[in-house]
């Protein structure tokens, strides 16, 4: 049977990265590498005291130890897992809520669209970190709760972009053609419109993910992310801060550096992807 479908779009659109994008991909890859091979890379348990307190970096403890005597290198490597899991989880939640709502809102129009847009605009106008803090303070610590708190902040970002794209796509000739041959709304939304918003979702994802990383770091800096003694960069940064005055520089330098590497890496990828799509739009 011949089914009438627009171009089959792959789930992950082909993107050509610039040098900057590749540099960013390298930084993110480093973090992912640490997260996956954490047990092979670390000599100690990150949650237990394994050495003397406040030992500067040395052969035995490459990045030193903290007040409790935990190995900082092990905590940094395992911390990559914590932040990546939260970032991934919260992104998936934002997409799962924002994308379908954006599709439906843009496609259906009318009162539903107005109400949804208004709620989303209100959330969007809220300073993101303060909203996430309020959510996290209310929900309590834990990986899932942190992910939810962050996800809520980014739902409107996906919603707005997907809705805007849907508005313009639904006026296109091929959608009208589909309606003419008797396709129902669900089919039109899923098979005709959704494939064409995927590229915009990719752009939104790459542009917002660095922000998600920084929000997670900020929540854990406020002690609102995962509970101790789970290794978490933002938390370690906060925990090391009081010792900064006495010159224990390694406690804050390395966790913060990792947050920066991950966030800068994602930003570079985002810049590169956005540039690619912009260039393609200009060409076509």
């Amino acid at each position: 049977m011949y089914t009438f479908r627009p171009i089959l779009v792959k789930l992950v659109p082909k993107v050509r990265l610039s040098i900057l994008g590749w540099a960013g991909a390298g930084m993110v890859a480093l973090t992912v590498f640490l997260a996956i091979f954490a047990p092979l890379l670390t000599p100690y348990d990150p949650t237990k005291a394994v050495g003397p307190s406040l030992q500067p970096p040395c052969w035995e403890y490459p990045l030193g130890t903290n007040k409790i005597g935990q190995d900082m290198w092990s905590r940094i490597v395992y911390g990559a897992r914590t932040i990546l899991i939260v970032v991934l989880l919260s992104t998936v939640i934002s997409m799962l809520i924002g994308v379908p709502l954006g599709l439906i809102s843009g496609y259906a129009g009318g009162l539903l669209d107005r109400i949804l847009s208004m709620i989303m605009d209100a959330i969007y106008a809220f300073p993101s970190l303060i909203l996430a803090i309020a959510m996290a303070a209310a929900l309590g610590p834990g990986i899932l709760n942190t992910a939810i708190s962050i996800a809520i902040v980014y739902v409107p970002t996906y919603f707005r972009m997907v809705r805007g794209q849907t508005l313009s796509i639904k006026e296109q000739l091929y959608v009208e053609a589909a309606r003419a041959i008797g396709a129902n709304h669900t089919t039109i939304l899923i098979s005709y419109i959704f494939p064409n918003v995927i590229s915009i979702i990719t752009v939104v994802f790459t542009l917002s993910v660095a922000d998600v990383v920084l929000t997670e770091a900020a929540l854990s800096f406020f002690g609102l992310s995962v509970p101790a003694p789970t290794p978490d960069w933002g938390f370690d940064l906060k925990a090391g801060h009081p010792y900064l005055l006495s010159g224990y520089w390694w406690l804050v330098t390395f966790p913060g550096l990792m947050i920066m590497i991950l966030a800068v890496g994602f930003t570079f990828i985002g810049e590169s992807v956005a540039e690619y799509f912009q260039a393609r739009e200009v060409r076509t």
Binding site: P127, I130, I133, A134, A138, L139, A210, M260
Partner: protein, 341 residues
């Protein structure tokens, strides 16, 4: 009625549902949470009288201890807010939340203004150089914009503390002013108050304290301005009047003035959009530098599980941001006649 008046009225009307939505959001986030907030505050073993007292303070039960249904709680909450009652703290002598907010607000405004100034000077200068020189300089500024956007404020703050306060020992590590040097209260902004009252020792102390926090905050936000400045300068450089001016032999240093004047419209637009980022940034900066503003206050009360204060502060932020957005929108409509409904 002129179209500007229509715009202002429509925009004013729009702010009401926005604020209502935001405060409702905060209410439901804080209320519909798993577990009992009261138990979370005082623990399982607290005496029943203390639990009852807290339930009353949170507006969960009435005077005789009967639970209040959620819709009524919501209505009471809105009615109180409407009267300007942001609730009372659960700790520290049950002080009104609004009074405490007002005590901490000037410090945040002072820091935000200083940070804003640093970010504009830094961002616009770099962006103009990048757009003007083009080529490698433009790419360098582009990378600068990308990196500053991804900076984690507490870490940058701590690195500056480490360098200037711990190792070089030239600037204080945190706080707002040396103890005992606080200028007499006029506006609550120490730098301004010390000038108004002629207290130069206070001024120097306040200035020394604000350098690192404002540099941290300014650095992070400067990326946005360097990006806008660079792209708009690049765009204007391509315009006919620049080519014509060059053809007439107008010296470059005079051309810069003309280009900057044109580039300032998009930069101005960006300024208004950055206020929310500035607030968020100020919270993290304050916590890092023990700056006694709203951020430090909010952070401290989260740690003490002072729910009414946290809720009140978040609502306050929501209202402030809505009002700022309102003012910015109306200002733009006033400046640019194309913006109308």
């Amino acid at each position: 009625m002129t179209s500007l008046k229509v715009f202002v009225i429509a925009r004013l009307l729009l702010v009401i549902p926005t604020i209502l939505l935001l405060v409702s959001l905060v209410f439901f986030i804080m209320r519909v949470m798993p577990g009992d907030p009261v138990i979370a505050i005082v623990g399982m073993k607290a005496p029943p009288e203390r639990i009852l007292e807290l339930r009353k303070a949170l507006g969960l039960v009435d005077e005789s201890g009967n639970p209040i249904p959620l819709p009524i709680q919501y209505f009471n909450y809105l009615a109180n807010l409407f009267r300007g009652d942001f609730g009372r703290s659960l700790i520290w002598g049950k002080r009104p939340v609004l009074v405490e907010i007002m005590e901490h607000l000037p410090a945040t405004i002072e820091l935000a203004m200083a940070g804003f100034l640093v970010s504009i000077i830094l961002g616009v200068t770099l962006g103009t150089i990048g757009g003007w020189k083009g080529g490698k300089m433009s790419s360098a500024v582009k990378i600068y914009s990308a990196i500053t956007y991804a900076l984690f404020i507490p870490w940058i703050g701590m690195m500056l503390q480490l360098l200037f306060a711990v190792w070089l020992k030239v600037l204080p590590v945190g706080g707002r002013i040396d103890p005992g040097l606080e200028p007499p209260m006029i506006t609550g902004l120490y730098l301004l108050d010390s000038i108004l009252t002629g207290r130069w020792d206070s001024f120097v102390s306040a200035l020394r304290h604000i350098i690192l926090p404002s540099l941290t905050l300014g650095l992070v936000i400067s990326g946005v301005f360097s990006r806008v400045a660079r792209t708009s300068v690049e765009e204007i450089m391509r315009q006919d009047f620049v080519i014509a001016a060059r053809a007439r032999g107008i010296p470059e240093h005079r051309l810069v003035v003309h280009i900057l004047r044109n580039a300032f419209i998009p930069i101005m637009t960006m300024m208004g959009l950055q206020l929310a980022l500035l607030m968020t940034g100020a919270i993290l900066t304050e916590t890092t530098f023990s700056w006694p503003g709203m951020g430090t206050f909010l952070f401290e009360r989260i740690e003490y599980r002072d729910y009414t204060t946290v809720q009140g502060t978040v609502v306050f932020f929501a209202i402030i941001i809505s009002v700022i957005n309102l003012v910015v929108d109306i200002l733009y409509a006033y400046i640019d006649p194309r913006i109308r409904y």
